[in-house]
């Protein structure tokens, strides 16, 4: 095993691999700055570039990006008070305060060094996990692997933000989408409605970029310009570095918490970072300065949010359970290379694992180093309003999604999923289980049929591994029930919950329409979708029918429970504020913000003033316009080809939607057009052709 480790390090000496790693790091740093993208956006945008590459350079680039995405997102949080991602908002609490006191460099150096340490410790954790898990993983047969896929989806659903029913519904929806295409056992076409394009299945990049990327663009494009002046970059670097060394305990604790959070499926960087912050506060005797510029509020969380990404990789590669959304996409990518997670990786592809470890470690160090050097320019980049970035991102994302199959249909699917993703986000339904379900759908079915054909009868269910995983499945469900019980019994909740005070949401859209007509409509729509799927699947053969029917039935149950929850919320809200017709609540009443629970133990949360509801409506209108613009762009593409469409769309968008200056619009368009012209000669990239071309 050590020779595998060192041979992987040796392979990194190959300049082409190093180059890919460097490209990944640079891309990750830039993508980390852009609000809303994060690790998911980084992997989704870079994934198309890796098509046609060998797994080694592809992984080097993707891991390089993933490792540093949380290093650069701190810059906007600290200097502007505008965190780009939810995990950066934790660092913002103390980092921004510190910066405003004239110690921006101190805050940033603490953050960068912690990120680097978090990445390194995460890589170490990953290294240690391999030999520890190896004997376990090698004992897995297809029954255990099957249980693991179920575990992956359900844990992601249960552990993610928002209530369990929403998570499960999202998971089942994702599973259903993953089943579209050809059945792995009988080669029948399922849910393809006669379309040749759909019979190939839905493309992973289209789903990921649509649900996460396009939804983020649509929700952020309406943001007004960043009004804040960035804080002056004052102070010295040296003192920050020396001070950092004194907080080594927090660094280690934060990193370990992050690894643990990463290992739990569906628990991502955000939760891990908040956990680390909570622990830092809990273990501090003197809590006075937290929130006002306490270094301990930066060091632990920043280490955590980098090590989470490493922790995510542990269950993903060793067990096949995605630890988070970016690693779910890496899993999908490996599956296309024919590399099965679990036993196969540990035996045949051990060198790949060690390549990942080394890439992560090197990228973390390089990323921190680059951030130190380039803080000034990074800070300038964060000032660009999102509306200006929007068209460029859109063009790149759509192009990326096109690469997988060369079908324009993929792009339409992407836009449609963008609308779905936006609605999911707005009504507070978690999207991570959706993607994880999508990635795991076919493997789940494959392992099931493998098990069914290898083991007669139901004897496989009594295997110890299967029973253990079954128990693991049940425990989180019980845990959330206990948590719900705690909240309902009353005031003294007591459960240490480190999340921010409810009145400081990072992303105003997230969950803002939970409990409204929209969420009820969405719940009803999911019921309709599952019912339709159930009906459609009756026409498949028995074998091809099993999985879709199971998913549809479970999804139907989940959807019905969700609908009942929504109805109850609306009814209880009507009771609570019958005379309050001036105000209307767009947040869940009574329960903590993200829970859709119907339990009302305390008085209602502050009712929303009219202005906020109007803001929600405004967001909806802007999003609708953005999606319409995206559709219009696709029509242009179908007519005139990608280059022409971009040259028309970009200035139109910039001038009308982003209100940019004419000069900006012209330069931007020319640059973008130039990039598109040059790109096919640099990378194996195809541009969609139009009818008129």
């Amino acid at each position: 095993m050590t020779d595998a480790a060192f041979s992987a390090l040796g392979s990194l000496a190959d300049p082409s691999l190093l180059l890919m790693l460097a490209v990944g790091v640079l891309a990750g740093l830039v993508i980390g700055l852009i609000p809303g993208l994060g690790g998911t956006g980084a992997v989704a945008i870079l994934l198309p570039v890796t098509f046609g590459m060998d797994p080694e350079p592809a992984l080097a680039m993707l891991i390089g990006a993933l490792a540093v995405v949380h290093t650069s997102d701190t810059v906007a949080a600290v200097l502007l008070g505008a965190p780009g991602s939810a995990s950066a908002s934790v660092t913002m609490l103390d980092g921004y305060s510190m910066a405003r006191q004239g110690q921006a460099k101190r805050a940033l150096s603490l953050a960068f060094l912690s990120s680097m340490a978090g990445g390194l410790i995460g890589a170490v954790g990953l290294t240690l996990a391999i030999p520890l898990a190896r004997p376990l993983v090698l004992s897995f047969g297809s029954p255990e692997l099957f249980m693991l896929t179920i575990l992956g989806v359900s844990l992601a659903a249960v552990l993610s933000r928002g209530n369990v029913v929403k998570g499960l519904t999202a998971g089942f929806l994702g599973l259903l989408l993953g089943l579209v295409g050809t059945s792995p056992t009988t080669a029948e076409e399922r849910f393809s409605f006669g379309s040749l394009f759909l019979s190939d299945g839905v493309s992973l990049v289209a789903v990921a970029l649509g649900i996460f990327g396009l939804a983020e663009i649509a929700s952020r494009v309406g943001q007004r310009d960043v009004a804040e002046k960035p804080v002056e970059l004052t102070g010295g670097w040296g003192s920050g570095i020396r001070e950092w060394l004194t907080h080594w305990a927090h660094v280690i604790r934060g990193s370990l918490i992050g690894i643990w959070a990463g290992v739990l499926p569906g628990v991502g960087a955000t939760a891990g970072t908040w956990l680390a912050y909570g622990q830092a506060v809990a273990t501090a005797k003197d809590k006075r300065t937290f929130g006002k510029g306490d270094p301990r509020g930066i060091v632990g969380p920043e280490s955590a949010n980098n090590s989470v990404e490493a922790g995510d990789l542990i269950p993903t590669f060793l067990f096949g359970i995605p630890g988070g959304v970016p690693s779910a996409m890496l899993l999908g990518m490996l599956l296309t290379y024919g590399i099965q997670p679990g036993p196969a990786i540990v035996t045949d592809h051990l060198d790949l694992m060690y390549l990942i470890v080394w890439s992560f470690a090197i990228a973390s160090v390089a990323g921190a180093f680059l951030c130190f050097l380039a803080t000034g320019s990074l800070a300038k980049l964060t000032r660009v309003p999102f509306a200006v970035l929007g068209p460029g991102l859109l063009v790149i994302m759509l192009l990326g999604a096109y690469q997988e199959g060369g079908q324009i249909g993929d792009l339409w699917v992407m836009v449609a999923l963008g609308v779905v993703g936006f609605l999911l986000k707005a009504t507070g339904m978690p999207r991570a289980p959706f993607l994880i379900g999508f990635v795991l759908a076919i493997p789940m079915e494959r392992y099931y049929y493998l098990t069914a054909s290898l083991y007669d009868g139901a004897g496989w269910m009594l295997r110890p591994g299967v029973l253990v995983f079954g128990a693991v499945l049940v425990v989180p469900v019980l845990w959330t029930l206990v948590k719900k019980l705690r909240r309902s019994v009353g005031a003294d909740d007591g459960h240490r919950d480190e999340h921010e005070p409810d009145d400081a949401p990072v992303d105003e859209l997230e969950g803002s329409m939970a409990g409204t007509g929209w969420s009820l409509g969405l719940a009803l729509a999911t019921v309709a979708v599952f019912a339709g799927a159930l009906w459609a699947s009756t026409s498949f053969s028995d074998e091809a029918q099993l999985m879709p029917q199971l998913v549809a039935v479970c999804g139907l149950v989940a959807g019905l429970v969700l609908t009942w929850q929504e109805v109850t919320i609306r009814r209880s809200r009507a009771e609570v504020a019958p005379d309050d017709d001036v105000h209307s609540t767009a947040y869940d009443v009574g329960a903590p913000a993200s829970s859709g629970s119907t339990l009302l133990a305390t008085r209602p949360v502050a009712t929303e003033p009219d202005a906020r509801l109007a803001a929600r409506r405004r967001d909806l209108v802007i999003a609708a316009r953005t999606f319409a613009a995206m559709a219009g762009f696709l029509v242009l593409v179908m007519l005139g080809g990608y280059l022409a469409a971009t040259l028309v769309f970009t200035p139109a968008f910039l001038l009308y939607a982003a209100r940019a200056r004419t000069r900006t619009a012209v330069i931007y368009t020319l640059v973008l057009g130039g990039v598109l012209l040059v790109l096919p000669s640099l990378l194996p990239v195809d541009l969609p052709m139009g009818i008129l071309q």
């Binding site: 809590k287 909740d493 949360v605």
Partner: protein
């Protein structure tokens, strides 16, 4: 010196305010209420002064920068250099004590000043 109260809109929370009012009456100390229940609306000062007129003019509501209620109470107590933290307890069954956590317990353990724990008067 200041007296800090871990406030909730419940009988134990009200009992805590009463005790704090009594405690701070002699020196007429400022009384700082910290909402100690996640998700509850912070109380309105005017309304509080109506309920406890003995504390009129000295009452404040302060929210800390921390999300966890027990941490918030301790933070405010430390920042305001409080001489006392008052919190309300309610009776729990033995199982209740085991299964459910306790904000009160954490305040007791973490606070750096004396803590007064009171129970509401029996109904």
């Amino acid at each position: 010196m200041t007296v800090v109260v871990a406030y909730a809109d419940t009988p134990p929370g009200h009992a805590a305010v009463e005790a704090a009012v009594a405690e701070s009456a002699r020196e007429q100390e400022p009384l700082v209420l910290v909402p100690a229940v996640r998700g509850e609306v912070p109380p309105d000062v005017a309304e509080l002064e109506r309920r406890w007129p003995a504390a009129a003019g000295r009452l404040e509501v302060e929210r800390a920068d921390l999300g966890d209620p027990s941490d918030a109470v301790v933070q405010v107590a430390q920042r305001r250099d409080a001489r006392l933290v008052v919190l309300g307890l309610r009776a729990r069954t033995p199982v209740g004590k085991l299964v459910f956590g306790s904000t009160a317990q954490r305040i007791l353990l973490d606070a750096t000043c004396p803590v007064l724990a009171v129970k509401p008067a029996p109904a």
